[in-house]
Point group: C2
Chain length 313, copies 2
Amino acid sequence: MSTLVVGSVALDTVQTPFGRAEEALGGTAVYFSLAAALFGDVRMVGVVGDDFPAEAIALLEQRGIDLGGLQRRPGETFRWVGAYGDDMNTAHTLDTQLNVFETFHPTLPPHYRDARLVFLGNIDPELQLDVLEQMDAPAFTALDTMNFWIDLKKDALLDVIRRVDAVLINEGELRQLTGQYNVLSAAGRVQELGPRHVVVKRGEYGALMFSGDDVAHVPAYPTYHVRDTTGAGDSFAGGFLGYLDSCSSHQLDDLRAALVYGTVMASFTVEDFSISGLRRATPESLCERYARLAEITRIVIPEVEPDLVPEGV
Amino acid sequence: MSTLVVGSVALDTVQTPFGRAEEALGGTAVYFSLAAALFGDVRMVGVVGDDFPAEAIALLEQRGIDLGGLQRRPGETFRWVGAYGDDMNTAHTLDTQLNVFETFHPTLPPHYRDARLVFLGNIDPELQLDVLEQMDAPAFTALDTMNFWIDLKKDALLDVIRRVDAVLINEGELRQLTGQYNVLSAAGRVQELGPRHVVVKRGEYGALMFSGDDVAHVPAYPTYHVRDTTGAGDSFAGGFLGYLDSCSSHQLDDLRAALVYGTVMASFTVEDFSISGLRRATPESLCERYARLAEITRIVIPEVEPDLVPEGV
């Protein structure tokens, strides 16, 4: 079993009320891969410049991530500079230097094409489609996107949305994409396009999943010290698809468990800058947090139902 | 068993993207009482002017609500004028006319004093304390408050917080009260003052409850048509305390069930203007929504745990 991811590989400079990271390892493909690699084989598609640190490559290889599709080009690696205030749900972008990412064109090595699951990270939807078309017949495909592509390449984005099984998207971007404020209506609009599953990421408020007619909700894992939320959504996607790749089927209960694993992965990432929090995730701590979320959300049906006044209110 | 509530009784004029209500029945004591009355006896403390509609009195009496503590004074009833944009989590106050509420001083009829539960709605904390001191020995006490009192009467507010079992508060006001942005840290600060239970109301993102060391979360009930969120928090409190009043004990599972009943009550209120949505709640629909929330939040522990890579990520 294996999961393919295409997305940014970045050096991030991030300022939050709790500290600062300078040119630290980041990007969708990195967070996703590190999270998904806990569950099985991951194949990365992306691009870095000739300044990309050898230690970062060594770390990814050590985690068993296949870098056969990670292009190394002359020039500088993609850089993102961002800041957060107290509200860590929203990043403020201060600078973006696309560098080698600007002319990135994903070409899949032949041995990548039979990957069972595919995650199309937040890149140009035309490139997302291009990756999808190079695949043999993946069992499950998902994508993420952002405001930039909704504004500039909405038609291409809608084309690729029509072809995936799942859309993982921030609440604000879901509203922007659909023009619907109500999250149920908005998710319904996306499902009408084709995807059976819509996962709405709501930062510290958790995640909602619409799967066919089913609605599932998982709150964020309770965390006292949220230091940097960069990569939380990508780690979430890595946990979500990584777990699904470990499942023989993709039934509703599998998707619901994936939603919890995604939530748990994100909770490690937000505890520290760059990938430091995520690297501290162990199989034991994952299972502990999974069980804790089950306890927090457990709804007790009262043994004795209240004697309700029949006229109603 | 019985629950006492003190709070505003109002005529609200509300504009939302989905319509408008003019001088419609509202106020904390009204929403709370109608919700709590489904579970048992409710005793209302408040004040209205001589313009308060006779039909409103008749409705409250018909629901079995004890109005022995509802003062009728010469002058006009409290009026609130507010508006909401697409984000129905936040009301914009356009006008407040305190009228008879300005000189309100709650005096409890003797037969009110043995009420088993007490809810101190969002009024001057000095009056909240005054009500508490008129009570015999309630089994469970709770309060709500708002930005105005946090700004103007923080010391009195802290005094009354120290004396109640539970604080039910909006997330933004919890942050303002404690100076802590992180919701876990903020709730912990309130618990340090005395209350064992802190219930954080997060609008469409549901509610978090901290009870001693326990953390519980219930998402908002999924609602396609949210027309007016006025009174949602007060209906929530009415469902929460009303259910607790029907319980012989107030153990953790009782509080968790109360959190669900509060959530369900709020979901009826937001479906229509004024008390129209809440009035449509029936015992059957309450139980249905309770069960639906249990299904939405059900976390499945996988039968076969994933074979996690032991080195971690």
